[in-house]
Symmetry: D3
Amino acid sequence: MVRLQPPGYLKLLQADTFQVSYAGAEANVLVSLSRFGHDTDYITKLPCSDVSEALVGTLRRHRVGVNNIVYGGERLGLYYLERGASQRPSKVIYDRKYSSISQAQRDEFDWDHIFEGTDWFHFSGITAALSPNMPDICEDACKAAKAHGVKISCDLNYRATMWSREEATRVMSHLAKYVDVMIGNEEDADNCLGIRPENTDVTGGKLDYSAYEAVARQIFERFGTTSVAFTLRGSISASENNWAAMLYQDGKAYYSKEYLIRLVDRVGGGDSFSGGLIYALLEGYDPQQAVEFAVAASCLKQTMEMDFNLSSVADVRRLMDGDASGRLQR
Amino acid sequence: MVRLQPPGYLKLLQADTFQVSYAGAEANVLVSLSRFGHDTDYITKLPCSDVSEALVGTLRRHRVGVNNIVYGGERLGLYYLERGASQRPSKVIYDRKYSSISQAQRDEFDWDHIFEGTDWFHFSGITAALSPNMPDICEDACKAAKAHGVKISCDLNYRATMWSREEATRVMSHLAKYVDVMIGNEEDADNCLGIRPENTDVTGGKLDYSAYEAVARQIFERFGTTSVAFTLRGSISASENNWAAMLYQDGKAYYSKEYLIRLVDRVGGGDSFSGGLIYALLEGYDPQQAVEFAVAASCLKQTMEMDFNLSSVADVRRLMDGDASGRLQR
Amino acid sequence: MVRLQPPGYLKLLQADTFQVSYAGAEANVLVSLSRFGHDTDYITKLPCSDVSEALVGTLRRHRVGVNNIVYGGERLGLYYLERGASQRPSKVIYDRKYSSISQAQRDEFDWDHIFEGTDWFHFSGITAALSPNMPDICEDACKAAKAHGVKISCDLNYRATMWSREEATRVMSHLAKYVDVMIGNEEDADNCLGIRPENTDVTGGKLDYSAYEAVARQIFERFGTTSVAFTLRGSISASENNWAAMLYQDGKAYYSKEYLIRLVDRVGGGDSFSGGLIYALLEGYDPQQAVEFAVAASCLKQTMEMDFNLSSVADVRRLMDGDASGRLQR
Amino acid sequence: MVRLQPPGYLKLLQADTFQVSYAGAEANVLVSLSRFGHDTDYITKLPCSDVSEALVGTLRRHRVGVNNIVYGGERLGLYYLERGASQRPSKVIYDRKYSSISQAQRDEFDWDHIFEGTDWFHFSGITAALSPNMPDICEDACKAAKAHGVKISCDLNYRATMWSREEATRVMSHLAKYVDVMIGNEEDADNCLGIRPENTDVTGGKLDYSAYEAVARQIFERFGTTSVAFTLRGSISASENNWAAMLYQDGKAYYSKEYLIRLVDRVGGGDSFSGGLIYALLEGYDPQQAVEFAVAASCLKQTMEMDFNLSSVADVRRLMDGDASGRLQR
Amino acid sequence: MVRLQPPGYLKLLQADTFQVSYAGAEANVLVSLSRFGHDTDYITKLPCSDVSEALVGTLRRHRVGVNNIVYGGERLGLYYLERGASQRPSKVIYDRKYSSISQAQRDEFDWDHIFEGTDWFHFSGITAALSPNMPDICEDACKAAKAHGVKISCDLNYRATMWSREEATRVMSHLAKYVDVMIGNEEDADNCLGIRPENTDVTGGKLDYSAYEAVARQIFERFGTTSVAFTLRGSISASENNWAAMLYQDGKAYYSKEYLIRLVDRVGGGDSFSGGLIYALLEGYDPQQAVEFAVAASCLKQTMEMDFNLSSVADVRRLMDGDASGRLQR
Amino acid sequence: MVRLQPPGYLKLLQADTFQVSYAGAEANVLVSLSRFGHDTDYITKLPCSDVSEALVGTLRRHRVGVNNIVYGGERLGLYYLERGASQRPSKVIYDRKYSSISQAQRDEFDWDHIFEGTDWFHFSGITAALSPNMPDICEDACKAAKAHGVKISCDLNYRATMWSREEATRVMSHLAKYVDVMIGNEEDADNCLGIRPENTDVTGGKLDYSAYEAVARQIFERFGTTSVAFTLRGSISASENNWAAMLYQDGKAYYSKEYLIRLVDRVGGGDSFSGGLIYALLEGYDPQQAVEFAVAASCLKQTMEMDFNLSSVADVRRLMDGDASGRLQR
């Protein structure tokens, strides 16, 4: 997607320039993984245009594989992001209806070819929500992945403007059966799988962990998901968030440290968590280390501009290992 | 529409900011007329969003009436503009499919209400090309305009990426019957009405006038159009154009002066010609003065950034009356 | 006025660009009210120039009425704003002496015409301070307003660089007799009306409310003012302020919630409070709701760039109703 | 003065940033001379403010002496500059009424102290036009300069918005008696001294030299001016000018080469001519070389942004000696 | 190299921002070839730093191979570019002494590995001039290339600040024996090979072709070079250049069309010529077509910002086939 | 040095513009002192180039003396600064090897001439670390200073990338004998003099004072240093630091207030402390006042962009005297 953002704290109607960047739920995850040293490949459909070329060039610059992208269709989705501050929320306005990927057909992706020699497949609930034929395409991919012994992770990523809780629950519960690592935020399990944490309030700054352990257990029990991870965001204000996560694995919940983040840009925070978690699991980190790595990675993302996490493994490890002082490096 | 443009001469894939402005064929004409002192009203359909609000605010700032805009639908069209230089052409990439206006229904516009107390109605061939139901909406408007004694002008504005010459000719020949003042560039009559000038070459810098007189006469004869105007652009390069126009009225062709323009931004040039011509005709200028005013107005537009002509009547008259020296005013 | 500001945290002498915007105490209030849905009309005097046109265009874009502005005189006032941070204060340098409005004559404003069909008249103590003939013009306006049954609000807005406490007290005590709703910050009552809160310290971060209740009562008793409102700003630093207000009505003080604001731009905070309060009173909010609305509105303003509050009623109500989390909206 | 300019070719009402620089007729001349290696001293009056400090810092950075500046008064003059292009003229809007220098008193300048050890005094007709007491101050300076054997140059610099031709002629004819080197453009002699060139047209691109020789002779005859110089600007458009000059000395006219300039910024062109001419005369160049140096210097100025000529002597000599190719230096 | 450039026409000492891009003689050629569809590989040595990473990312985004870059050493070269206009020349200030590549050792490059499966090797005289051990490294590369049957092209690229004509001639005459395609501008043959065209003047705007044919013949005769190409630049001013080229092959000179370019950025013009020529020769164009393609490609480059030619083959062919009108594409 | 910085919070590899400023440890100190009203003189060696001219102009604008700068050598050092936020550290990448000053020779500086009429000499440990011949040059300067009765201050300024602790300790222990006022941060005494505070942790936000008193006493005892000052930085995050200092004099430690700073730019913080301390000592402040002044000055610096402290004495005194509210000044 194209991301268009007024500079600084300007509201959309005050801006006569937009900062332009390129992003997308899965693309963000792949950039994380590429920068951590893994080979990646981005599967999507884009229209033939100079705008797509700019997006593809951006991915290529971060070493994300772009050779299996399908070209065609009418448009590239975009979104406007107005950055909030203090009590004023940030605001995202999507304009992605009728995008090429949303209009893609099942026979346009050769999943057997794609998954050859692949270790991991990640997709987002947003993708499943794009249009009526996307759930089938997602299922095609999941089936092929399973057939090739590829691990599957899914970020539930519920978007209320894209589908209702009922639709989301119908589709995502079906796809959940294929998923090895299920990722979501505090509200996703409720919205996408119909599993609700009790006694939680997402608009306060405090993080309430305990409720999520029960949710994770239910997911494991209902769908057989090996690992379930929840990011926990405590919104003190649009300028400051608490940030932590829980990883549920083998019947046990592992809680990360909690970071108080002075936000530079919180968009892409969840995707960088997924990227960090997949990296840690691929590298064989134990569950506690894995959730610490993923949370530290996504904490750093939120101190950077734009959707991508540009941290190195060393950057993440330094934070995860305890140096949160932000002390000048020279 | 939203207009997104890399700064200066950057190519789209080099840009990480876009200059944002708001534009549209009819909106551009209305801004010209508002700034020349007339009351105007913009009829369109826009989605409910902060982006629409930004567009509407921009029009309001230039005194264009916005109270009859219909709200609803899914998206606001946009276009990317990459500015060329010298031998490198400027490039426009449209992303306006499925815009709210293109999906509008006939019963959403109350033309009788709209045309009450109105003198003039202007529309663009682009609008007719937006979707299959737009020709009917245009015809509804034309019929209502006629019923209220409103003069009608139309800028043919052929866009090859929107429809074929066959479709354009079918639709525009039908609508042409309602039109009092027909406006086009060198290629429009051929593409939209099937009437071709002989022996002309639009890629050279020289302007060949004589051929257009015959075309205008045919339009008058076939559709009964009172006035026919052609803008004549001689593309020396992306940096310099010759610019002139012909107005055909009462069986006679009136040729304007020819200006050599060092282009700042040529987009909106045709619309500012329409705005200038409508103003001049409303004010009762004689044909020679009318075409001179319209050409001087659109010459000045092309020395300004963005789609709108921000000139005053006095600015246009000074140029039209002979002072093209650009001498510093203090 | 023209507002000129170095970008970000640059000091004036480091800047080679200024961000330009247009503002003014009463203009800011009117933009608030226009955006909340009321019809407004800005009464001032401006020189004939492209700079005035830019200011007027900006107001028009926010739907502020500009048809009764008087044109003439020599200059448009301006101010330079250097944004501070942490322990470094923001700094305003005014250059508004000899502005057209300050040189205006009493007979230039046709108050009877202006107040026809009007519900509310708002003016600022700054306007009264502009020049020796401004108090008379203000009084003319107040008298005419009273004659037309128009409610009057006044923001005391003391500026030490414009007049002495003695002058201010002489003029404002005289005008206070006409005022229905008197608005001020912690120091204004002392400086403009000679009524001093006891035991307060405005340079600390803590807000001391109780003292202001007594001040309000005295204003009510001395001038018969129906409503008295004080904004209370606790300056923790140039980056963070506490913000609250008190509304005194019918012998009772209503205290708002207190907000800790990470400041984006605190200039215009008081004006947006006035705008919010006038809106709430016009809508018939009860005193507690009115002061909550006004404080929430002005809290949001201070999270935005430039003088204007661009919030909608819905934005203000969401904050006032308790959601201060700044959680991303999409 | 503060100079405020919309970026690029934006019109004033399109801009939300201004490029800020600091300038002034005599300041511009001094920067030229300082950069050519001479010691200089700027005599003016400025208000005490951070804005003045920014101006003074700018001069200091170019090695202009600032130790004799008088501080006090109310404001610093400013001007808005809108850059034109092609047929659209550039536009200057002054806001310098009531500036500190215009309100200065005769006894604020200690001319005897100032002229100690000084070789040259330069002033502009603009300064004499600022207010009714400025002609006396200019005359004080001229008398003191004469008493100290200091050479005097004056750039007539007529500004129609500042005074009438009658006032200008009265004042400048009086001051002309003190002047050794009189400088002007094509229209100044007529407007300031009542001496009119015959058969000239400044709005065409062609330069008509011969008429100016007679004007110079009359100035010499009437005022005893040793040297008279006229810059000759042929305005092809706001983007391209022809530029040349004539120096009249000892009864003979010396014509410079003529340059076709693609303008970057023509403001300050005349001042850089004065700077170049004073330099050349101080260095003992012969008249032909002097006028060539001054024209080459001011040609280069007009290829730079802002009012100052930042060329070195070597830069000017290279152009004056024939290399106008603009060939890349590395 | 890092390229640092004041925005627009600002001089270096006026700038408080620099536009940053990444470039280099060979890198520029490779970007051209990559964008034309060929696989490429960049051989250089860079220090380990985030700045190198930025450069490498930029190359990767344009599909240039970066896997054989050697890391180590102390610094990355950089240059400052001040853009001239009209009579004011552009200016390059290099700061590349002690760069990692200049300090590289012969044994750091495994040429046999590098040339496996390669068709073409291109190097620049600049590289040979970087330090005393670079000629040997260049010769190593040339010998290995020959051994693998790889074609060799060399752009003489004389830089007077890097070495004397004597040194250049000694080194480049030695390396010339390996070169199949020798490329240079009007002065390179003289400076690097001691072969001087007669009666030519590079500072005028006119291009004098005939002299270069004799020079090319001498190069062919002395070094056995299959193809010799000269770019011919006529510097009308810093804003406008004439541009053409000659290709000498099989005893015959092929002259290209000549383009009058309104320069956006002439830096990288020669490199884009090399890129275009190599592409055309690899594709088997006949000599006339090859020189036309190379000149059209480099003409387009000079209408773009920064060092890289971002044109597609289709863009170049459209210009080469005659459409130089710069007419808007939509 | 040239300082190159991506705008805002962009990472180096995201930036296509850099903010340019000019800085250096001693230059920063001199700018502080110049702005506080003292005459200063900058001794360094710079290459002859427009970049040096830009640096020198910047110093001149702040009234720093530049007449004793030596010109020659090959390059001007530079550094890249990437601003961090929250848990993400800021990052400095130096590129100053082979700078002109680092290659300077002992006989290039005429210290006797330089120190004539001078009160104070300040140097930084960075300068001593630049190259093997710098310690001798520093010692030459110290000896000459002593001979002229000039007070000497030294900021230890350890940089791990420039030399090892062993080298630093060898050189700085030797130079320490000349120093009257020794300045450092928490780690410098350990790294440069081999004297280690006990039980301190610089990566936490808390400041631990007591340990530093013992370190200062040892420095006094070992080197006879009259005054020893340590700045104490508590890194809560890259966005917020605690900041304080201790001055040890006459056997007693004076502790300053502690400031919680919302950082705008912490680079140059130590230099502004040195500037403030030297000023206070030159003005005869008592030790408690001196350390308060120095800490308040450097607190303010860290709320400004770029390396320089642009505060006035009045600004510093207002903060030092207790007003840390950042309340708007108008």
